[in-house]
Symmetry: C2
Subunit: 931 residues, 2 copies
């Protein structure tokens, strides 16, 4: 049985053995082993720490001390310097390092080995007295507080007095003399407080420092940290100590220091990129006192060293197979690599380098895919605020639809439209939006509302259009009548410029520069690789031909959710929809529906044309119909206003007669004008302020009140509407099948998928299916052509989950509507929850995430799993998808893949993110499990 | 191989063999076999029918004819009459009868065997020419239309003409002559239409009739019926034919006819009860031409026959072991029993006879229990409208709380209280009620509202108090300011009398007599038997000491749901609750809560005292707090009104001065009065119309608007409130534990069960549990006594079902809140669903029941089963209950028993029903299964 090995030189350690060497130590060994010019050093193992802590007596064990001394002798040999040698002093750093990164343990001590003698030697070598005394005073303070347990106050007090004396504001204002004075006083206080002088023996310094690191493992901060983050003994036990040679880039003109990237981090181009300074140390580069040189200059200035640096670059990339961000120092012509880590890059550069590395044979396609985080793609898909712009946030609302936009404020949709026609960029600012504002959405750059959550009309419509939206910003008070708003105390009027960031919810005064997204070529390559790997199909939620085109562009493999009611939301169509709702008889309703049919059919035909050959799932009318009418409050105001106007106009009609009586002469003089005015008013009255108009508004108000609901989320909607007003669904089904017939007649391919919302029992499905069968027969007869279709249901009502086995008897596909399903599962109304208690729930950790943003796998997900199990028991090959908002998020996609779903459907701009996430889900399926 | 037996005399047939003999035939055989004096007869088997239908050729098979003739010969022997014998003619009836009762097959033909000769014989025997010709003309028409396929029109035409001729309005107005003329003309038309005379040979009549019955099995009506009701061949194949001797009670003074009950159906007393008429037939008794005699009179009038009737009575009860309702005829001193069936009785008589029969050893306790349908008990628990009262329904609302009540209309709670103090009975009529109306509920006999469903405030509170309530009666228009209402066009003012029936939802003008319930002694006996058998515990939902007392009286085995917020709803407490809600700071809120604490503690202490030793489950605050404030609309009106009044009063202050200026003399005269008035007004203004008051209302309005929610059902309530306003739950927990401490200190026994509502994740439970633990420590210290408790959760949020395994780590019991759980499972808001689409859903069969009334076992029930499985996986002995409204309904109770729940909790008056239902569930558990 030989002696236990407590100390490993960097070149001896096993780069994987973090348990023994700690994370940092293992990493240093790894770098050394692959031939990087790491400054020489060694690791004292975690076992040393544990046996140190185990023993009763004080002090390091003799064997450990012995091995440290041997390792130091080795270091001296390698560096040609001497530990404590005044002529060519070897200085070292001491760092802790457990198996897991763990803040709260001992800090780094640098420059161990400095004492009265070596300080002088260093001054000779660096010719920089100020630099050396600065190192020394830091060493004294740090060493004494850490290793000897002295209070920092002792030193701070002295140092502040020195600064006062030399009228120095900052540390850097002190010169060599002042710093030397500081060192002298520090040494005095150490002697006074500890009864012993500051250890001049470098080995004594070193051994005390190692002991201090060992002890810090059981210090309060470290113990608390491990308890807080539940770090068990199995995960990390004891800390290692890393001893590393100090190197200096300010040792003369053949010394330098710099930072570099192995490729250009801004563009991703495969060229060496970085900067350096001759005769400087890292801090000088950061401080910006001199301007650093570009790295290519080094080739000329140090032709002997530069090739080593180039080699370093290649070694790093070959080993780490990612672009590296490295720090290097050249000490008297010798290159050292002090640190290397994966370079931070913007998304397009990151994607470019990943693809390049595949082409260079460095990494596989799978590795390239896994390297790019799906959410990173958002940068390439939405406009972003310029990160360099220095701006102050005016207010914050809910981040309702991502992307940034600037524009002039308008307070209504009509103004948005008219201003946009003049070429102006506008932001539509409303308390909340309604379907009748839809032309304002088309016209505006972005939408801002003072009320409503992330599922408010504004949010949902904006997302579906891919326009930025900030909703529910309660700091905004709007007075629409005077076209004014006050945002966090700042008054704004129509035409004032603002900027909104729908990714963060922030609102800014004025125009903040934005960066437009570019759908880069490299991304297309990456996503094609992704599609080849994924099992999940990625579909899009898109309701209009425009949105469908966009979805196609983003690579959607079909439309997973086409909400027919969105086709109603257009200025020409909405009045017909309202007519349909206000109809007193079935005949009147049918007449309105007959006029809606062509709109719906033509839109669908166009969608089928764009998505020719791909699946298109069309959902029948879902929202409660009162959503298509103005609110009761609005109508009451409008009616009051109209009545008042009418009275006023009526009163003014008497004006000429009154004037005639009071002052005939005056009347005579203005008779013609008066006549013109009163005639104008009469026209106004008879044309715009008619009794009929007021009455029609009153009828609408009555209807709105009749239709109003206590809990609209749980109300008269979806298939419930379809069953109470069968003619509405009949029209929609006809539109779908006729559009398909025409498309097929034109030589196209389509099997429309008809989807029924809010279903809770098989009987509802049967009812609608009966309609479909009848109408299909009629359409096939009329068009003399076969019109195939698939029939399916949304699953967004919990009871549908419980009855999935039965629903599957008729439903050929199901699609989870996780927005509604989440509301029903939690009994949270999103609008109420997000303003009233969800923030507190998240803050206090009662819920880890907002379930409307992050799919709740433990609750909603569990329900989905049960549902799928039962559904596929009845229909083995049941096509199952998800079309709620969470469907486009990587976590949800991972879960959907895991439970063997067929597809996910999300808003068009999220399609690329989802495609990548689906590939990740497949590649990492082995690691996944559900708690 | 002998000849097949096609014909069974009643005494030969196996009373169980319905397949062969048909249901009716088997029954006649059964009656005969147990010795009842059924008129003799026989059954022609279903096999005869099938082989008749199988053969190609027409006519009955020879063997069947032969066996019929033999059976007829036997009949002649038994009755001493001859088939076709003019002196003493035997007449028979012919009836179809398959294995299952099946309307749509051949009707009965009576009096077969009548012809020109036997008619005369019958006239001689009955001395009633009119009677015999009436029989004959009926036979001709029925026989010819059924057996010979003649159109009824032929006969109807003749008969109408005869009636015209004799100026007879009705059939009974025709005398013997007219009826004879009818018969003659009928016989003529038969001959003319069929080419043959009406068959005078009785055997020809009989065989044609039997054939007609056989054929009717494959007739369109019968085939359609079987298809419609899915009656397969296995269930019934072919029809039997029943031939039965006709007997007549009008054969002279030693003949009679009557009906009787084996016990008194009104009281349940064990005495023979019924009436009869000498020399009459059944129709005479019904027609009421003569007054029938009570049955005891028969003992005197026919002492020879009466003992037979008494014997019949005992035979029937001994065999059927239920009170029988029988029809009998005495033909010339011979008693016949024509029919017997279980007697219909009111609930108390039914229970009395059932218990008596147990005591008499006729039936077992289990049989007695099973005989009483739980819902029948409602008659004994709620006041009922007198079924004899002839009244017209004025309008109908929703049957929101069972029972009937009359009273004078009042339009607000204060009036209800003041009138009730004067001893008047009042009905509180409101558009809808609010917590602040609670004193009106106490004062009123019943509650009537024009808005709101069966879960509206009015409905829920009334049910919990056991007071009748009709809610959401949309036919009512109320003008509270003028204390007037119009109900279905009838104007009613305060003080007008109305009656409401909360069991049906009907509203009546004036006072309708009601029958008060009596909690009969027998019921107590029955329920004790039930309790011995049941596995399920029956608890009550009760929130106040009064309601808890009632629950105890009804036999509740504990309180399953005590809603703490109900204790807030009292005139003295509500203002403090409002203060608590309006508090701007935590300190203000705490101050209000400190004042609420004693109320809550004292109520709970009283409840613990009443239920000493029984479990009491107390639910922490559940409803959204805006429910304790007036509605925004109400406040706006009130503020406008106050402001207007203030202005008016202000204006009138100037009155004296104005008058003085205009007419000093008049002013002088009324100066004193004016001064008094203006001073009065000033006082009014300064006391009741203060600016402060208006401001406080405005502050409340603002708060109401802040608290308003889009979907209150899914809003800021339950534990979500408890977490956002921790001081509220802290107060309630303290009240519970202090009340328990005091009760225990007084020598009582209680382990309060603290229940948290609206839970969706374990973290919420942990949070509340932390509070409980802390407060318990404090209370135990303060009272120097151990205060045990149990901690549990409502399960009414779907996510709680999904997380049941985790919740069970902390929850010692769970209680399903099926009201909310049903809403969440269906995504139906009850208030909206019941007015907007549920009626259509039920009508069209999309849902079989309203899931808010009948527990939805397939959906909600399935969820409950999953929940229990997961919960008991974690905590094997988990106590599980249900406290939703459906909990008191027998179907739900059956399900709860089946899935091994621990208890059900329902409103106090439903406790007896639930106790009985629980026994039924246990006794019938073998028959139960879930589809």
């Amino acid at each position: 049985m030989g002696t236990k090995k407590y100390v490993y030189a960097f070149e001896q350690g096993d780069g994987k053995n973090k348990e023994l060497l700690g994370g940092k130590g293992a990493n240093l060994c790894e770098m050394t082993r692959i031939g990087l010019p790491v400054p020489p050093g060694f690791v004292i193992t975690t076992e040393s720490c544990l046996s140190y802590l185990d023993q009763k007596k004080k002090g390091l064990q003799a064997e450990v001390v012995k091995q440290i001394r041997e390792a130091m002798a080795e270091l001296e040999k390698k560096t040609g310097k001497g530990f404590g040698d005044a002529k060519n002093p070897l200085l070292v750093s001491v760092r802790s390092g457990a198996a897991m990164s763990m803040p709260g343990m001992m800090d780094t001590i640098l420059n161990l080995g400095l004492n009265e003698d070596t300080v002088k030697g260093m001054i000779r070598l660096t010719k920089n007295e100020r630099f050396v005394y600065d190192l020394y005073r830091r060493l004294i303070q740090l060493f004494c507080s850490i290793s000897l347990g002295m209070e920092d106050d002792n030193f701070d007090h002295i140092f502040n007095k020195i600064k006062d004396k030399y009228k120095a504001k900052e540390d850097v204002d002190l010169d060599a003399k002042a710093l030397k004075e500081t060192c002298d006083q520090f040494l005095e206080i150490v002697k006074k407080k500890t009864g012993k002088p500051f250890p001049q023996d470098p080995y004594e310094q070193l051994e005390l420092a190692v002991e201090a690191v060992f002890k810090s493992w059981t210090g309060k901060r470290a113990v608390d940290y491990r308890r807080e983050f539940k770090i068990t003994k199995e995960m990390a036990d004891g800390t290692a100590v890393n001893i590393c040679t100090m190197v200096f880039g300010n040792m003369g003109d053949h010394s330098a220091t710099g930072v570099a990237f192995t490729r250009d981090p801004a563009t991703g181009d495969n060229r060496f990129f970085g900067e350096y300074m001759i005769n400087a140390q890292g801090e000088d580069v950061v401080a910006g006192i001199r301007t650093p040189e570009p790295i290519r200059q080094l080739r000329k200035e140090m032709p002997d060293v530069y090739p080593e640096l180039e080699e370093l670059r290649h070694t790093l990339e070959n080993h780490y197979r990612e672009v590296q961000d490295l720090e290097f120092t050249i000490e008297k012509g010798k290159l050292y690599c002090l640190q290397t880590r994966n370079a931070k890059m913007n998304a397009s550069a990151f994607i470019k380098t990943s693809i390049d590395m595949v082409n260079e044979g460095l990494i596989s396609e799978e590795e390239a895919l896994l390297r790019v985080q799906p959410d990173m793609l958002a940068q390439l898909l939405y406009p972003q605020l310029d990160p360099n712009a220095k701006v102050e946030v005016l207010a914050q609302g809910l981040p309702a639809s991502p992307g940034a936009a600037s524009g002039k404020i308008v307070f209504d949709a009509d103004r948005a439209e008219s201003k946009a026609k003049l070429g102006e960029k506008v932001i539509l600012l409303r308390e909340e939006t309604k379907p009748e504002d839809i032309h304002g959405f088309f016209a505006a750059q972005g939408i801002l509302t003072s009320r409503g959550g992330k599922t408010s009309h504004a949010a949902v419509v904006a997302r579906s259009m891919g326009k930025p939206c900030v909703s529910g910003c309660e700091a905004i008070e709007i007075t629409p009548s005077s076209k004014e708003a006050v945002i966090s105390g700042v008054s704004l009027r129509e035409g004032d410029m603002i900027t909104i960031d729908g990714t963060t919810g922030n609102i800014y005064q004025g125009k903040v520069p934005t960066i437009e997204p570019e759908f880069v070529e490299d991304l297309l390559v990456l996503l094609e690789w992704a599609d080849e790997i994924s099992d999940l199909q990625i579909m899009a939620n898109a309701d209009t031909p425009d949105a469908v085109s966009k979805a196609k562009k983003y690579g959607a493999m079909g439309i997973g959710l086409c909400r027919t009611e969105r086709m109603f939301n257009q200025p020409k169509r909405l009045p017909i929809v309202q007519e349909m709702i206000l109809a007193e008889t079935t005949e009147e309703r049918q007449a309105a529906l007959d006029r809606l049919l062509p709109f719906q059919r033509e839109d669908l035909k166009e969608i089928f044309r764009i998505m020719d050959g791909y699946p298109v799932t069309i959902r029948l009318l879902d929202p409660p119909i009162h959503e298509f009418l103005p609110s009761a409050d609005e109508l009451v105001q409008e009616i009051d206003h109209l009545k008042e106007l009418r009275n006023t106009v009526g009163g003014m009609a008497a004006l000429p007669d009154t004037l005639k009586m009071l002052d005939p002469e005056l009347h005579e003089r203005y008779a013609a004008n008066l006549e013109a005015i009163t005639q104008g008013l009469e026209e106004l009255k008879s044309e715009h302020l008619t009794v009929d108009l007021i009455e029609s508004k009153e009828i609408m108000l009555k209807k709105v009140r009749t239709l109003s609901e206590t809990n609209p989320m749980l109300g008269h909607r979806g298939v419930r509407l379809g069953i109470t007003y069968p003619e509405i669904y009949a029209m929609q089904i006809r539109a779908i099948l006729e559009a398909a017939a025409e498309h097929i007649g034109d030589g196209g391919k389509i099997i429309p998928e008809i989807m029924v919302p809010q279903v809770c029992t098989l009987e509802e499905l049967k009812w609608v299916h009966g309609f479909v069968v009848d109408i299909q027969k009629g359409v096939e007869k009329k068009f003399k052509i076969k019109v195939p279709y698939e029939f399916g249901t949304m699953v967004e009502v919990v009871r549908a989950c419980m009855r999935a086995g039965r629903l599957a008897e008729l439903a050929e596909f199901i699609s989870f509507g996780t927005n509604d399903l989440t509301q029903a599962t939690f009994s949270f109304s999103r609008e109420d929850a997000e303003t009233k208690f969800l923030p507190l729930y998240e803050e206090s950790g009662i819920l880890q995430d907002n379930p409307f943003e992050v799919l709740d796998i433990k609750g909603v997900g569990r329900l989905m799993m049960i549902t799928m199990e039962w559904a596929r028991k009845t229909r083995k090959d049941m096509k199952v998808g998800i079309c709620g908002e969470q469907g486009g998020h990587p976590d949800a996609i991972r879960f959907c893949h895991y439970i063997d779903m067929t597809y996910v459907s999300c808003s068009p701009p999220r399609v690329p993110i989802a495609r990548l996430a689906a590939a990740h889900a497949k590649l990492k399926e082995g690691e996944y499990s559900i708690v």
